[in-house]
């Protein structure tokens, strides 16, 4: 057989990924055979944080990303809590968790309709039997469920505003607790907002059934039986998503690395009142860990395993360092060289397991494991689907994201039940020097902050965002980043409009705006020992 010509396609930008992502793909016989992902924005938040007030991260880091600002705020607060060795009252843990959860619930319909489902109305799929219905529901701005979904996505964060005054960009989580002291009417109002969200979108539009019925689904067989059970299920947005995704082949590509990471999140209100870095794994409700699909095995995760390679990133320094040990030396001229350096994102890896995918799929695969504490959240569905369907795909990755919504909704309800309104919300801490680490799971995956306070100011602040895990370039050993790997095997119908590349990238819900680095342009000198990415 003659060797097919390789065509190289540069796509700048791949939109609807939150920030600007550029992708280069090699295409052979209409299929992607190689891929490079490039982060093309550099702002320098870490240099801005250096030498600033220890609490500056509470104001600055949510503004690294207006999409998962509550997640950044959560990390910034817990990082200071561990550095200052604070006491955090029970109510404050619940109030932080609730803020984090409602931001994530907001993101589900917003990403689903606003960023993801639009592609199902692409002319590529006009021959699908579901196409007309897809256009009717999901066409941008005018689709019936697009409009409903995008508009109702603003409701959950009204609860965030009850706690923090506004979403996005509040700083209501502070070391020692929270700034607010909600009243009964805040709690009852929050309940009614949750109910509205459930009664007007989650149940009638997304599930086509009650939340309780959906929660009975524990396996792939259960899901298929649910789909066939009633027309309301098959015709719900979830039902149509599953049926059309299979019809247009989204269950066939986008697998990725098959290795997954999560920090776990939502510390239990009674188990993390004296927060420490070491005590976190056993204190969070949704457990963290690493899942290796190839050996089908789970293990725990620790921040000490984090490494960053820079061979293919625009930095001139040794690779393989832990974030606390890095000295950021960016190259002055950021020319794109696919064989050399081609991105501002570093290649994050686990010291033992190499590159790992972050995100809701990771969380759900890890939630299926039997590692961790008995009381922690366990859910077998997505792991069962992963095993039954032969691994990940665009379809499974996005399904996992939406599936988590039901769990988060219940946990939001629990927070509202658990508040003891007359108890403390804040215990004033004593500022001190030290090192801290705060982590959470943003809706799009593992997020954490490292802080070092010395002499009453920030000496070192570092962030590794979920998109750093997912969108990073090749590691020093050549292992591709998760999205680069996931693009391999993607069929491209039209070189001039490669919507399939969009499907893969958007299934990761990437957020390039978190990819921020430090460099002094005027002198070319290194200004920061830390960087956020």
């Amino acid at each position: 057989m003659a060797t097919a010509a390789v065509q190289t396609l540069d796509i700048s930008p791949v939109g609807r990924v939150e920030g600007d992502l550029d992708v280069r793909v090699d295409i052979e016989n209409g299929v992607v055979t190689n891929a490079w992902t490039q982060a093309e924005l550099f702002r320098g938040f870490e240099i801005i944080l250096r030498d600033k007030d220890p609490q500056a991260g509470l104001v600055v880091t949510p503004r690294a990303c207006g999409i998962c600002g509550a997640s950044h705020l959560t990390c910034a607060a817990w990082a200071l809590d561990t550095a200052w060795k604070t006491d955090v009252p029970r109510n404050a843990i619940l109030a932080r968790n609730l803020g984090q959860i409602v931001e994530s619930i907001q993101s589900l319909p917003r990403h689903h309709y606003g960023l993801f489902m639009i592609d199902y109305t692409h002319k590529n799929y006009s021959k699908s039997e579901f196409y007309q219905e897809a256009v009717k529901r999901w066409a941008p701005f005018t689709g019936t469920n697009y409009e409903l979904g995008v508009t109702i996505s603003g409701r959950p964060v009204e609860i965030y505003a009850l706690l923090g005054g506004q979403w996005p960009h509040s700083s209501y989580m502070v070391p020692g607790g929270v700034m607010c002291a909600p009243t009964l009417t805040d709690v009852t109002r929050a309940w009614s907002i949750l109910e509205h969200f459930r009664r007007n979108w989650m149940e009638p539009v997304w599930f086509g059934c009650s939340l309780e019925r959906y929660e009975e689904i524990k396996s792939y067989d259960d899901l298929m039986a649910w789909l066939d059970e009633r027309p309301e299920h098959a015709n719900s947005d979830l039902g149509l998503y599953l049926r059309m995704s299979k019809d247009i082949g989204l269950d066939k590509y986008g697998a990725g690395l098959g290795k997954y990471v999560s920090w776990g999140y939502l510390p239990n209100e009674d188990k993390y009142q004296k927060p420490t870095i070491e005590g976190r794994n056993a204190a969070v409700w949704m457990k963290g860990g690493v899942y290796d699909g190839k050996s089908d095995s789970h293990k725990t995760m620790d921040q000490a395993f984090t490494r960053e390679d820079v061979l293919h990133a625009w930095y001139d320094e040794p690779g393989g360092l832990h974030p606390f040990d890095r000295t950021t030396k960016p190259v002055q001229k950021n020319a794109i060289d696919p064989d050399g350096k081609y991105s501002w994102a570093t290649a994050v890896r686990h010291a033992e397991n190499g590159r790992l995918e972050a995100g809701p799929l990771s969380r759900q695969l890890i939630a299926g494991g039997t590692h961790g504490e008995d009381w922690q959240y366990q859910d077998p569905l997505v792991l069962d689907m992963y095993r039954r369907l032969g691994g990940a795909s665009v379809m499974l990755r996005h399904f996992a994201r939406m599936h988590e919504g039901a769990k988060l909704y219940r946990e939001a309800e629990r927070c509202l039940r658990e508040f003891k309104l007359n108890d403390a919300w804040y215990i004033k801490p004593t500022e001190k020097d030290g090192r801290g680490w705060g982590a959470t799971e943003a809706i799009r995956g593992a997020l954490c902050h490292w802080i070092e306070v010395e002499g009453g100011k920030i000496k070192n602040y570092q962030i590794i965002a979920p998109t750093t895990w997912n969108v990073g370039p090749r590691a020093a050993d050549g292992e591709r980043g998760p999205i680069e790997e996931a693009l391999i095997g993607t069929p491209i119908a039209d070189m001039h409009d490669p919507v399939e590349v969009g499907h893969v990238c958007r299934s990761y819900d990437s957020c390039l705006v978190c990819t921020v680095h430090a460099h002094d342009a005027r002198t070319g000198e290194e200004l920061a020992r830390f960087r956020t990415a």
Binding site: P13, F42, G66, L115, G154, Q166
Partner: protein, 320 residues
């Protein structure tokens, strides 16, 4: 029908997220009820790669009219004025901004980054960021102080970190319905209708402010946040307590001090150690006074307030 293009430079997408919270009108209403034709938006646009490039080229050449150019994020000039650290669609974003601003009928900066430079322009401003027509308080910015869009207006600045969705949608609707000429702007080119009153206007803690009852630490159910916790509500121009956030609240109502994010200096004091969530004072008197109040006046006012303060003012007000 009005063509709208929205781009992001050195941005966090926070203004886009805020915009998507809009309700009257919602983002969708703008399209379906007000005839706003969204040519492209980074989070919402259909096109990618070369199809977007074609669209942008058509706008720049004048073939496709651009009625409203909305810009979110800073203009990144690094390294060395080249703008290469923020590339978009194959070239530095700043080059696109320069070209698009020339053909736009109205140019709108949303959020602090696009208006004054915001957080990325905080010292030492590693990305050499600036706003469209200001860098902090300094007039000029990327487009220069003489810039006017084709409608004859300078950049319309809608500051805030983020801007409130209603501030954005109301300006867009005004322009789309032919009332752009009614917009009056203050010295920082902010629409006066939103930015003449203060953040404190309508704050639920105004009585405690009047009686000088202080919230001394977070998580309390009483007190004004100005005296100890660094609240900038009395000297910040915004309608945050007139047009509530997410329909339900505001930072000061929830117990968070105002950070002054609609003013060019945000973040204040460059976030230097000791300046965050703490009122900066000299001999017990705040360095930054409520707008227009002098030191002697402040001392008289607060002494009288303390003397007149009723007993209830010291007790919890926002109770369960």
């Amino acid at each position: 029908m009005a063509n709208l293009l929205w781009l992001q430079g050195g941005a966090c997408s926070g203004n886009t997220m805020s915009f998507l919270n809009a309700e009257e009108p919602s983002a969708c209403d703008l399209v379906t009820d007000f005839g706003i034709n969204v040519l492209w938006h980074p989070s919402l646009g259909l096109e990618l790669g070369e199809n977007l490039r074609r669209l942008l080229d058509a706008i720049v050449s004048g073939e496709m009219p651009l009625d409203i150019f909305v810009y979110e994020g800073t203009v990144v000039n690094a390294p060395n004025g080249t703008g290469e650290w923020n590339r978009f669609c194959g070239r530095p974003m700043k080059d696109w901004v320069a070209d698009l601003a020339k053909v736009a009928t109205f140019t709108v900066a949303v959020g602090d980054c696009a208006t004054w430079g915001g957080i990325p322009a905080t010292a030492p401003n590693p990305s050499e960021s600036e706003g469209l027509q200001f860098l902090k308080r300094e007039h000029g910015g990327f487009l220069g102080k003489d810039y006017k869009s084709k409608a004859g207006l300078p950049v319309i600045n809608i500051p805030g970190c983020p801007a409130h969705p209603d501030w954005i949608t109301q300006v867009v609707v005004a322009v789309a319905t032919g009332r752009g000429g009614d917009l009056t702007l203050d010295e920082f080119q902010r629409p006066r209708t939103f930015f003449t009153s203060f953040t404190q206007t309508g704050c639920t803690r105004n009585m405690q402010f009047a009686y000088k009852v202080s919230a001394t630490e977070f998580g309390q159910r009483k007190g004004c946040l100005f005296y100890d916790l660094g609240c900038r509500g009395p000297m910040t121009h915004s309608p945050c307590n007139r047009i509530l956030w997410n329909r339900v609240s505001s930072k000061t109502r929830a117990g968070m001090p105002c950070l002054g994010c609609t003013e060019p200096e945000f973040p204040f004091f460059d976030l230097m150690p000791g300046t965050l969530f703490k009122t900066q004072t000299v001999m017990g008197v705040p360095k930054d006074m409520p707008a227009g109040v002098d030191k002697a006046g402040y001392i008289k006012l607060t002494a009288a307030a303390k003397a007149a303060s009723p007993a209830w003012a010291e007790e919890d007000l926002f109770v369960v």
